[in-house]
């Protein structure tokens, strides 16, 4: 066990865990931020997506030790006073079915739109392809990313 100093959603926190513990389980079990989801554990489904220094990363394969000096943002830290344009778009289009994968979808979409604020339809489909939705709400996710881009422009 070792102490790691993390900056999560703007707050400094320290956790005492094994160095190989994936960030996902530190967030969920130690910091009680359960919005970040466990889906596959091998970076194949995207349910665990968080931002490290603004870039979408799979927290299930990111050891806590590598996240130490980075700004970590989770779904809980996305909205400040108000919902973000991405969350607004998700709400407006009534995207979720079971809802389990949607935090990861929103984190991927948010990071993508920061890098590419005016994406083409094909770019959206490529960017979101790494996030699985077992309910297959893909049509609405695709539309919501486009709508969010519109809201942000």
């Amino acid at each position: 066990m070792a102490v790691f100093n993390l900056k999560v959603n703007g707050k400094n926190v320290s956790v005492d865990v094994d160095a190989d513990t994936p960030l996902l389980w530190v967030l969920r079990d130690e910091l009680h931020l359960v919005g970040t989801k466990f889906g596959c554990g091998i970076a194949q489904c995207g349910a665990c997506t968080v931002h490290l220094n603004g870039v979408a990363m799979r927290s299930c394969v990111t050891p806590v030790s590598t996240a130490e000096s980075m700004e970590i943002t989770t779904i809980e830290g996305l909205a400040q006073e108000e919902l973000t344009p991405v969350q607004e778009a998700w709400k407006e289009l009534d995207v979720p079915q079971c809802g389990y994968c949607q935090a990861g979808q929103i984190m991927t979409a948010t990071s993508f739109l920061q890098q590419n604020p005016q994406p083409s339809a094909e770019q959206i489909r490529n960017a979101m392809n790494g996030n699985l939705c077992r309910c297959a709400s893909y049509n609405r996710i695709e539309k919501a990313v486009a709508l969010a881009a519109e809201k942000m422009s």
Binding site: V34, K37, D94, C98, G99, C133
Partner: protein, 718 residues
Amino acid sequence: MKTQEQISFSRRNFIKTSALVSGGLLIGFNFMTACKETAIPPVDISQLNFQDFNAFIQIAENGYVTIYSPNPEIGQGVKTSMPMIIAEELDVPWEHVSVAQGDLDTENYTRQVAGGSQSIRRGWDALRETGATARQMLVNAAALTWGVDASTCTAADGVITNANGDTLHYGEVVNMAATLDIPEEVSLKSPKDFKIIGKDAINVDMDAIITGKPLFGLDYKAEGMKYVCVVRPPAFGQKLKSFDGTAAKLVNGVTDVVQFGDKVAVLASNTWAAMKGKQAVKTDWAFDSEPENSALHDEELQKLLNGEGLDVRRDDGDVDKAFAEAEILLDRTYEAPFLPHNCMEPMNFYAHVTADKVHLVGPIQTPAGTANRIAELIGRDIGEVHLEMTRMGGGFGRRLYGDFAVEAAEISNITGEPVKVIYSREDDMTAGIYRPASKYRIRASIKNGEITGYHLIEAAINGNMWNAIAGYFPADAIPNYKVETGNYRSNITTGAWRAPYTNFLAFAEQSFFDELAEVLKKDPVQLRLDLLKRVPDQDNPEKYSSKRMSDVITLAAEKANWGKTDGNTYQGFAAYFSHNTHVAEVVEIKMNNGEPQLEKVTVAVDCGIVVNPTGARNQIEGGVLDGIGHAMFGNFSFENGLPQDSNFNTYRLIRMKDTPIVETHFIESEVSPTGLGEPGLPPAGGALANALKAATGQRLLRQPFIQSLRQRKTDLDA
């Protein structure tokens, strides 16, 4: 055909009311069953008694309404649509309604199961009557306040108005209403007067979902809770011979390693430690039944198709005679593999077994049955079992089986600690309960340009279609019609998977009709319409209606411009009735560098009244893409009892780049609503196969299609 109209009913026994100490009216009710004579709703909102009532409506002094809806939410939208039905008849603005998850299981709850797309269909009348009764009580209280006859008052949008134009808000009369008798008779709205039903209402959990609030079973935590991973037999047919937990106990955070049955539980202070501890458990397994593999299943199912030991499900006319007299015989066999459910939220459950109670929390589609099973297994009275349902990260049938909840209870019963059993993805995919592999052989006889005989044989694993399915189209449309089934008993655990049996049967039959149309030189849409013309319409929710089926077929064909597309667009058609709902689909494919590319699916649906259009479209979009995804990619096999895939690196699910756009059209209807969670799925595979045939010339008889399509590409490249 029966439509909903202004009706009266007398069901005062299923509703009870109380005045809340904090002010306001509380209405407790039970779907379809009477409340116990002695049951009284609590006067404190924090003490909702779900043992006697399965749902509550609270109307506060400010007129705001909270509906405590207990039906499990697996993503099918009932947590939104069921309260909409109550609010419609109560006649309050939807903005004044909030929905809370009722936290419990009860012995009185008649339909506390989410499955079979039945929640809305079964709850429709009871929910409307409950809302209407509440409205009438408020009207009666207002009338009493004014000293006028209640029949001279009307209620709308949370306001009661009398003949003089005086008004009272619902909130102003709730305390008086709580003291009144429950009305014997109330009337329901005419569907044309609906204000909430038929309008889009977004998911009531939306804000919690998009901001990451704890909602799901995996998010649940309790003081002192241990995280548990379980070592289960890796192959079907294996039993635990011995294990050594020494190394596991040395893992930081692991607190205990215990055996239960043929499994070993690793308890830890966090999930990661439990996962690492599980890897460190040394186990020795022995086969106590024959290990099976997919080649054996193929062989056994093929034997069944050849006619050994079959059960006759339906036998109209004389199929043998029709075949003997046929000019043309068509004989095809369709094959499908096992499929895991792969809910995005892996199986998990919390249990704390103590001297005075058994506390269970988690995502489960069958709370009552699971609570009973656990009570029996650990020798406790069912009254001591308290089961809370969480939101579910998908179900697809998997959470009908409470095996994971039973595991949690068994472990807590041994250690006495609060435990949360967590499946890794590998556990979830390999621990069992799959859509069974199956094969269908269909034969048809043709004479004088007509289909004279139709013989379907189902060969499946561990079970067969229920009888109603044997009565689906083309039953009644072909004079000599026979359905037989047979099954092979396997030690691989199987169960319901979204649209059981029909999820594959529809593909087989809808592909077969396409071939029949080819042989008969008829348009596939026209062939179906012609066959349906022979069937008298019937108003029986368990059977297809020839009129409603013809209407969805016509609507889908019209909306998709069936047969009138440009040269590079290829269409495939399918129509199917299941879960009391009629659906027709047109899949469109374009060829891109010789590769088929899915563009669009046009869907026509008759599910009666559409309660929540946005939710309904969501279910259809999801069901269609689920059907396409599994027909295209879903493959799961066994070698020596060992599942051959265990995670998404090799097991392929549909992803965004694979998806066409789904465009849904609903038939306008005033008929009581039917299910939507499943019926969109069955026709999708058939419509896709027919479109792929049109595009590539290749007739696909075996799922997943990706294998044949890859072979085609290899052949073309060579």
